[in-house]
């Protein structure tokens, strides 16, 4: 297996079924995707295009109906693959009764860090996301932006080689958004592979090396951002549909 390839999807299909096992929706339909080491890869598409389903298959939270999903050349559910992964979901989903420090310590423990290593790493990350002052407050009382920063820190706690970010700037103010983008760039510069989804095309344009656009579960375009020859937004709308259609589709989904 090529060590340079971090994520590999070949002919991946995902069909959701109802209680009687009748197919209800083809969320992903014959997707081929390769993410290489050190890349910042953007998965773009309107709502219902299959981005989240694709990410969940990469994370091992969903099994593909057909095709093959590999992470670091291994099945996504293997412990070895999961040990190299960090994940930031679309919403923060934190344990409300834990403090920010306890949250990071908890995930550090799950990543196999000893108590002392975990404590050291927690301090580093709390400083990085600027939450040292509220480290001992329960995250249930945090604003959406603060919770997002805790979630981002917990994604990084195990020093992952691959970071999967689902809408990383969702709920953040412009300053925090800029900080997250800078952080993503810094992490990529340090060799971390990043797979992210975003509805904010400008964010993707700023940080991604390569993007793939999905629509109705199918790949409609893939390429390096620098080689698109037009703004990502124009390119996206050309591939997915007009702005009016997109807004309407977004509203109805």
């Amino acid at each position: 297996m090529n060590e340079e390839i971090v994520i590999s999807l070949k002919g991946v299909k995902k069909t959701f079924r109802d209680f009687w096992l009748r197919p209800t929706v083809n969320a992903v339909d014959g997707l081929d995707l390769t993410v290489r080491r050190g890349e910042v890869f953007g998965l773009l598409g309107p709502n219902g295009s299959g981005k989240s389903t694709t990410i969940k298959m990469i994370l091992g939270l969903l099994d593909p109906t057909a095709g093959e999903v590999l992470m670091f050349g291994k099945a996504p559910r293997s412990l070895a693959a999961r040990a190299r992964l960090g994940y930031l979901p679309e919403l923060s989903y934190l344990h409300p009764f834990l403090t920010a420090r306890e949250t990071l310590m908890y995930y550090a423990g799950l990543c196999g860090l000893s108590r002392s290593e975990g404590a050291k790493r927690t301090d580093e990350l709390l400083a990085m996301v600027k939450l040292e002052d509220v480290a001992n407050r329960a995250v249930g009382g945090f604003s959406k932006g603060m919770a997002r920063r805790v979630a981002l820190a917990s994604a990084l706690v195990g020093r992952p080689e691959l970071l999967v970010l689902d809408e990383p700037t969702s709920g953040l103010d412009p300053v925090s958004t800029k900080e997250v983008k800078m952080l993503v760039k810094a992490l990529a510069a340090n060799g971390m592979t990043i797979l992210m989804t975003s509805h904010l095309l400008a964010d993707a344009e700023d940080v991604c090396d390569r993007v793939m656009i999905l629509n109705h579960g199918k790949q409609v375009a893939e390429g390096k951002v620098a080689e698109l020859g037009e703004s990502l937004e124009d390119f996206f709308l050309a591939k997915v549909g007009s702005a009016d259609e997109f807004v309407l589709a977004d509203f109805l989904s």
């Binding site: 091992g60 939270l61 412990l79 992964l85 994940y87 344990h95 908890y106």
Partner: protein
């Protein structure tokens, strides 16, 4: 192991910070303190004590069973519904460890509350109060006896045609039930013998007694007179009975002869010196009682057995929550708990399958299967023994603890690990 302790600690912290632990402690404390005023007993101090011991700890155990079952069904299910579970599942931790750690945390919570209740019980009871080993006669199991009786029963011209046409398994079950309740008749002047397993250890000089429960065809109290002899190796004990009012008689045995040799078995003989025949069921109505350690140790063993019961309930709840939504899991768990308590009584109501119609037979079949499956919970009766000062035997505690606190959680955690990804997908 690190992951296990982190998840364990998270679950425990959740129970503490959500005040679940506090509520359980307060409710248990209130019940333990109120119990002596609620149960007045049969008018005797002994009766009142037995009731308080039984129902104070029993009430706390019941409260914990329901509360922990509710928490257990939600421990994975509610995390999954809140989408927090996925953040654990993408970490390098085995799904079975996730389930096992949650089980362990909830069992520890129950054990802690139960420990407080047990400590209160210990404070108000004389811990040195003696308990007794209760031995039953060594006999073939009812099933073995049924197998031995089967051929003769089927050839007997008096056997009903329905029984002869019935399946062998049904007839054997019927015969086993009869063997369990079989009466021996002891005619006036005759002698009966029962053997008891002593394990080769020397029986004590003092404190030995025999408990007999006599009856007759009309269940009328009658004159019971007789002599008992117990022989173990070269040693002999004896006692006599002269009783005309009580159905259950306890006869203290006095050492007659001291011998050096010991034996695996002790032989008890009873000579009926009365005029009328006596009847008793040897499997149910004859016990040898020998001194055991004090109430304190018995209380500790009862505590371990109760924790073992909570352990299997919690493990089952966590497993259900791994595969089902929280309301469905909770409903299923509560139904299973009720079935576990009711099914033995239902089966006892219908011992003779031959007299039931087709529908009842199907119902009985299902109930038997349910009773078999829920046996580990329904068969735990440590409080009954505790309140009667009957020794809860160490080997049975070890067996229950290993089965319910080690094997059952491990198996259910492995099964939960199989269903967790399926349910996450759903």
């Amino acid at each position: 192991m690190n992951s296990f302790w982190r998840i364990f600690s998270l679950e425990f912290t959740a129970a503490v910070r959500s005040r679940t632990l506090l509520l359980l402690l307060v409710a248990s404390l209130a019940w333990m303190l109120a119990a002596p005023f609620v149960f007045v007993g049969d008018g005797t101090a002994e009766g009142a004590r037995a009731l308080v011991v039984h129902y104070s700890l029993g009430g706390v155990a019941a409260l914990l069973a329901v509360a922990l079952l509710a928490s257990a069904t939600g421990s994975i299910a509610s995390e999954r519904e809140a989408r927090r579970l996925q953040l654990t599942l993408v970490r390098p931790v085995r799904y079975s460890v996730v389930a096992l750690a949650k089980m362990a945390a909830l069992v520890s919570l129950g054990a802690l509350v139960l420990a407080v209740a047990t400590a209160i019980e210990a404070c108000r009871t004389d811990l040195a109060r003696p308990c007794r080993h209760v031995l039953s006669p060594v006999m073939p199991t009812p099933r073995e006896e049924a197998l031995a009786m089967y051929d003769a029963f089927m050839k007997d011209p008096n056997t009903p045609v329905a029984a002869k046409r019935a399946k062998k398994s049904v007839v054997l079950r019927l015969l086993a039930q009869r063997a369990l309740d079989r009466y021996d008749t002891i005619a006036g002047g005759s002698v009966v013998r029962w053997n008891f397993k002593t394990g080769g250890s020397a029986l004590p000089d003092d404190g030995l007694s025999v408990r007999l429960r006599f009856t007759n065809a009309y269940d009328v109290r009658q004159d019971v007179r007789g002599v008992l002899f117990l022989r173990s190796g070269d040693s002999v004990w004896s006692g006599s009975v002269s009783n005309i009012t009580q159905a259950v008689v306890e006869i203290p045995l006095k050492r007659e002869r001291v011998g050096a040799a010991t034996s695996e078995l002790a032989e008890l003989t009873f000579r009926n010196d009365g005029n009328s025949a006596l009847m008793l069921r040897p499997r149910r109505d004859v016990n040898m009682l020998s001194p055991a350690d004090g109430f304190g140790w018995n209380l500790l063993r009862a505590y371990v057995e109760l924790v073992a019961m909570l352990s299997i309930l919690v493990s089952f709840g966590v497993f259900l929550g791994a595969g089902l939504g929280r309301p469905v899991a909770l409903f299923t768990a509560i139904v299973a708990l009720i079935v576990s308590e009711m099914s033995p009584s239902v089966i006892e109501q219908y011992p003779d399958e031959l007299e039931t119609d087709k529908i009842d037979s199907i119902g009985l079949y299902i109930t038997r299967a349910a009773a078999e499956a829920t046996h580990p919970v329904s068969s735990l009766v440590p409080l009954e023994k505790l309140s009667e000062d009957a020794c809860i035997e160490r080997r049975e505690v070890v067996r229950t603890a290993v089965a319910n606190m080690v094997f059952a959680p491990l198996i259910l955690a492995l099964l939960a690990a199989l269903v967790i990804p399926r349910k996450v997908e759903a």
